[in-house]
């Protein structure tokens, strides 16, 4: 069945990649990020070995300085600022080696990237998780916001007209 035609086969790699930037609150791990974050992710990977975990814990700064990472990347790790680390090319499966080095659960680390604390995040998950409504597309959200604005202004205008009469 290799003759199967895929109507959704990607024809334009640029359009394929551009769409990923339209997803709210998400950094898709594309080649650009994989290159940018290479050493940061390999640093995180090194924490799979217990002796490295011990050395890192003893002096985080010195351990990071052994890696050809940018200063910003090192700072994001020292700060445990995971959104920043993702922006600088980090990948969550690699960064998770740092979660376990710190002895915190995956969910706890993940919650620090949201606008909730761990308790609120856990409560959201138990209640069924974050709804995809309004979280699918930045452009769609902007269009909806613009429509709402127009609707509000229309209503205001209609009210004005009514008053004027």
């Amino acid at each position: 069945m290799s003759c199967n035609e895929n109507p959704n086969k990607v024809q334009d790699i640029h359009a394929y990649l551009a769409e990923f930037d339209d997803i709210p609150g998400t950094r898709v791990f594309i080649a650009k990020r994989a290159r940018q974050g290479y050493h940061m992710n390999q640093f995180a990977m090194s924490l799979m070995k217990d002796e490295n975990r011990q050395r890192f814990k003893a002096d985080e700064r010195a351990y990071l300085d052994e890696w050809p990472m940018t200063e910003e990347q090192k700072q994001s790790i020292l700060d445990r600022d995971y959104n920043r680390a993702l922006d600088l090319g980090g990948n969550v499966y690699f960064l998770s080696k740092l979660f376990s080095t710190d002895g915190i659960s995956f969910a706890q680390a993940v919650s620090t990237m949201t606008d909730m604390n761990f308790e609120q995040y856990t409560a959201m998950m138990v209640a069924g998780g974050r709804s995809p409504e309004g979280a699918r597309s930045i452009k769609e959200n902007e269009a909806n916001a613009a429509l709402t604005k127009v609707a509000v202004e229309d209503e205001k205008f209609a009210g004005q007209v009514k008053e004027d009469r």
């Binding site: 895929n6 992710n41 975990r53 998770s96 990237m113 998950m125 069924g128």
Partner: protein
């Protein structure tokens, strides 16, 4: 000849391994998750597969950023549980089936799927958690395993269509293996989850169930879902579901569902699980358990 007699899909959340290893699967939080696998555990005891082709993804355990194979097949004798930063899980070593694995690898390459061959690696929760969910805590896993690792971490992962076609080629390869073997294929990962960024925690109950529905019967519409739809609808890590399509593609045109389970949440993730029987006139009923399954519906 060898035959693929069933397909199984399951999420592979690491926390489930922790729950099992530390005897917490009866807790209020975990019981509703594990309860959905009770049926399958009994069914597997009756089915007695000789080999499971286990489709999973490595989570920066055996593969780091140095080498990123799109499709890789394990042809080794055995695999140890990986240390993912907490020490390795205390589960039995996973025994491979090098004869079947090499046969599949060769067949796939001749069928124009350019596989990476792995002889030595450790296997992480992506592979060991599904074994735990289906077999509980035996002294030794009751079957051999052919690991099939898929890159779903660095973009682009393979398309759903390519995954489905790989499944079709795996079926062909298994059926040309001369030894009489009862082979299952498992697709793991998913369902909706996002582990990163401000949108973390996304769950899409409706989409997940649409996907489960689409695995049953003779439809093949799931193979054409573009990556961006997984990302938008099911979160950045929901893309793992393309691995379920390898399983589905290996079951032929038509399938019948024997068992199905869905639960939210487990940690950050929606748990989905389904057991499928190929239904193309093969007449598979390894133990009569199908009748029981159908009666239970």
């Amino acid at each position: 000849m060898a035959r693929i007699t069933a397909g199984v899909a399951s999420s592979h959340v690491p926390l489930l391994g922790v729950a099992s290893d530390f005897n917490k699967s009866g807790d209020d939080y975990f019981r509703p998750i594990f309860a959905g696998y009770d049926w399958t555990r009994e069914w597997e005891k009756a089915e007695k597969p000789d080999v499971v082709i286990l489709v999973y993804n490595d989570h920066a355990s055996a593969f780091d950023m140095k080498i990123i194979p799109t499709f890789a097949i394990g042809c080794g004798e055995s695999y140890k549980s990986a240390d993912e930063g907490w020490g390795p899980r205390n589960v039995p070593d996973v025994e491979g089936h090098p004869d079947l694995a090499w046969h599949i690898a060769q067949s796939l390459i001749l069928d124009e799927f350019d596989m990476t061959i792995i002889n030595e690696m450790d296997v992480d929760h992506g592979l060991t958690v599904p074994l735990t969910m289906m077999f509980d805590k035996p002294e030794k896993w009751p079957c051999k395993v052919v690991p099939l690792a898929v890159n779903v971490v660095t973009y682009p992962p393979p398309s759903g269509n390519r995954c489905w076609a790989l499944g079709e080629a795996i079926r062909k390869a298994v059926e040309s293996f001369p030894e009489d073997l009862n082979v299952q294929i498992w697709g793991t990962g998913g369902m909706s989850h996002q582990l990163q960024g401000p949108r973390a925690g996304l769950i899409n109950h409706d989409w997940d169930n649409m996907f489960l529905d689409g695995l049953i019967g003779d439809t093949d519409k799931l193979r054409y879902i573009p990556h961006v739809e997984y990302l938008r609808e099911t979160g950045s890590e929901g893309i793992e579901m393309v691995m379920w399509l390898i399983m589905r593609g290996a079951l032929g045109k038509n399938t019948r569902a024997l068992h199905r389970h869905y639960h939210v949440p487990c940690s950050n993730t929606a748990i989905g699980h389904i057991v499928l029987r190929p239904d193309n006139g093969e007449g598979f009923d390894m133990t009569g358990s199908d009748t029981v399954a159908i009666a239970a519906e």
